[in-house]
């Protein structure tokens, strides 16, 4: 693996909020197909790290390289345009709108109506593709016009991920995707993440749940007080050992 160049890298990334140094000199290499978990205690800097990576915040120092090119994300849209999609904890879905409307939000498919001057929404094609995106995640829901608020937590995650796929994202960042979910729903979301890995997507995962991390992640990076203190392949690590590493700060 090591001779392949990383898909993206953070070099000496830092982020200050006034006097608070939320991230200090973080280096991180992520390879294509990795599912990398970012772990650490409350306030360790996990959310800050993904905000910087997703363009929601601008780093105070250091650089982000994507496929060998230096990135200057100023907004989540910039990151999205480069294939880096973030699935926020609240999923950023419109609950009362349909599955199709959510998956294609902001990137609707259209077809010409009167020559090239007037384009109208291509609803049939969007519904069909929405179903196909969900199928890629091994999720099938009967009716693509169902409002998202009628879906289960796991199905909603699938819709949010499908939207990322719609944007052709190859890096998908997920902040606490299982935090609010029950056992079955959690299992479903872990399956979604495995699916993403099988389809060569790269996943950055924040989770407080050690069992989830050892179940799906290929690597874990541990943050403590804004510094990366540990970075290791999971390789059959137990949840207990991971918890110990986080508490001891990687000692």
């Amino acid at each position: 693996m090591t001779e392949v160049s990383p898909l993206f890298s953070l070099r000496d990334v830092s982020k200050r909020y006034g006097a608070v140094e939320a991230l200090t000199g973080v280096d991180l290499d992520v390879y294509s197909g990795d599912v990398i978990a970012i772990c650490g205690d409350n306030g360790a800097g996990k959310s800050t790290l993904i905000k910087v990576l997703s363009g929601a915040e601008i780093a105070s120092g250091g650089e982000i390289m994507l496929a060998g090119r230096r990135m200057h994300f100023r907004s989540p849209q910039d990151a999205l345009a480069q294939g880096v999609a973030t699935i926020y904890q609240d999923l950023a879905l419109a609950p009362r709108l349909s599955i199709t409307a959510n998956i294609f939000m902001g990137a609707e498919l259209t077809r010409p109506l009167l020559g090239r001057f007037l384009r109208v929404l291509d609803k049939a094609r969007m519904a069909k593709q929405a179903e196909a995106y969900l199928k890629r995640l091994a999720v099938s829901i009967d009716d693509m016009s169902t409002p998202v608020e009628r879906l289960s937590g796991g199905q909603r995650q699938a819709v949010a991920i499908s939207r990322a796929l719609r944007w052709n994202a190859n890096v998908i960042i997920m902040d606490e995707p299982t935090a609010a979910l029950g056992v079955r729903e959690t299992a479903m979301v872990l399956d979604l993440i495995r699916r993403l890995r099988e389809t060569r997507h790269t996943v950055v995962l924040i989770s407080h749940n050690m069992a989830d991390v050892v179940a799906v992640a290929t690597r874990v990076a541990i943050l403590k007080s804004g510094r990366k203190v540990f970075d290791t392949p999971i390789d059959g690590m137990s949840a207990g050992r991971l918890a110990g590493l986080i508490m001891s700060g990687g000692q």
Partner: protein, 325 residues
């Protein structure tokens, strides 16, 4: 993974009632008056109702477009009055009908844009912003007219916009049809409409998906102003006069039409067919009540009840359709 049905989809009959229940009730109201109210069914009266419905529905569609981007526009009626007065002033000053029409549309557009600016740039909540705009528009209307109405023998080129007919059908009806088709097409078939809906439903999610949410909000409020301008032209042309507060009576009616419309066809969402049908139902109700000898103020009481009842129905009975602004 196995095929999972979406949880909680209501059974068939309930779903039909949810979508069309109040529409059917509205049809029932019209039928009641057709049978019970003397003269309600006379051609003259029916034509009058349809004409009144045209003014109301066009104004209400503006409110619906603003509500689609999750903004309340309480200034539509006063914008319409000011636009009508402006058109009337042009006509009285001997300007051509084209100038009068352009002036009314410009007033509507400008005040709609002012509302959009206030809401998206100055961050004034639309409830407050449009209340302020309404007061300003009303004040200017009184200033322009000095409190009296512009009346006179207005050129047919202007009055014909409302009083004339094309292919044997009243221009008022044509106006409603054209505006209705435009709104329906915009909301249902264009990317812009989808972006407006997403903005109104989940602004943050829409913004994160790259939608220009502020532009969508401004567009919704500008369109509300433009439709108020169109309503103004039709009102002034039909009456061949313009008075301050001439659209005032349409204010509560318009809000009621949109909110009642939100209980049908697409429960919980402002929608074009619901708004137009509700406008017809409400105008029939008002007209029928008068014909049945109910006192004039009964209309206000009924409108108030319709406004509260519609929102309660949207929020409660149809659980999926909570009204939010």
């Amino acid at each position: 993974m196995s095929r999972q049905p979406a949880a909680g989809s209501p059974p068939r009959i309930a779903a039909i009632l949810q979508r069309y229940g109040t529409a059917l009730a509205g049809a029932g109201v019209i039928t009641f008056f057709l049978v019970m109210a003397p003269n309600f069914s006379s051609p003259g009266n029916l034509l009058n109702i349809v004409k009144e419905t045209s003014f109301l529905a066009i104004l209400a569609l503006g409110f619906a477009l603003a509500l689609t981007v999750s903004e309340l526009d309480l200034s539509i009626a006063d914008i319409a009055s000011l636009a009508a007065v402006t058109a009337g002033w042009c006509i009285q000053a001997g300007q051509s009908p084209g100038i009068a029409v352009a002036a009314a549309l410009a007033i509507g557009t400008a005040l709609g844009a002012a509302n959009g600016f206030g809401v998206t740039v100055l961050k004034v909540p639309s409830l407050i912003m449009t209340l302020g705009t309404a007061a300003i528009a009303k004040g200017i209307s009184f200033y322009i007219t000095q409190g009296v109405a512009f009346v006179g023998r207005w050129p047919e080129g202007f009055t014909g916009i409302a009083r004339g007919a094309t292919f044997g059908v009243s221009n008022l009806i044509w106006s409603l049809v054209l505006v209705g088709i435009f709104c329906l097409f915009l909301m249902k078939s264009t990317q812009t409409g989808a972006h407006m809906t997403a903005t109104g439903e989940a602004e943050e999610a829409a913004r994160l998906a790259g939608i220009a949410t502020k532009s969508m909000k401004r567009l919704g409020m500008i369109l509300a102003g433009v439709l108020a301008g169109i309503t103004a032209i039709l009102l002034a042309a039909n009456l061949s006069s313009a008075a301050p507060n001439m659209a005032g009576d349409f204010f509560l009616y318009a809000i009621a039409a949109v909110l009642l419309g939100m209980t049908m066809f697409e429960p919980g969402h402002p929608n074009v067919p619901g708004t137009v049908l509700s406008a017809l139902v409400l105008k029939s109700l008002g007209n029928g009540l008068v014909l049945l000898g109910a006192p004039y103020y009964a209309q206000d009481i009924v409108l108030g009840a319709v406004i509260i009842g519609s929102v309660a129905l949207s929020a409660g009975f149809m659980q999926n359709a909570a009204f939010k602004v």
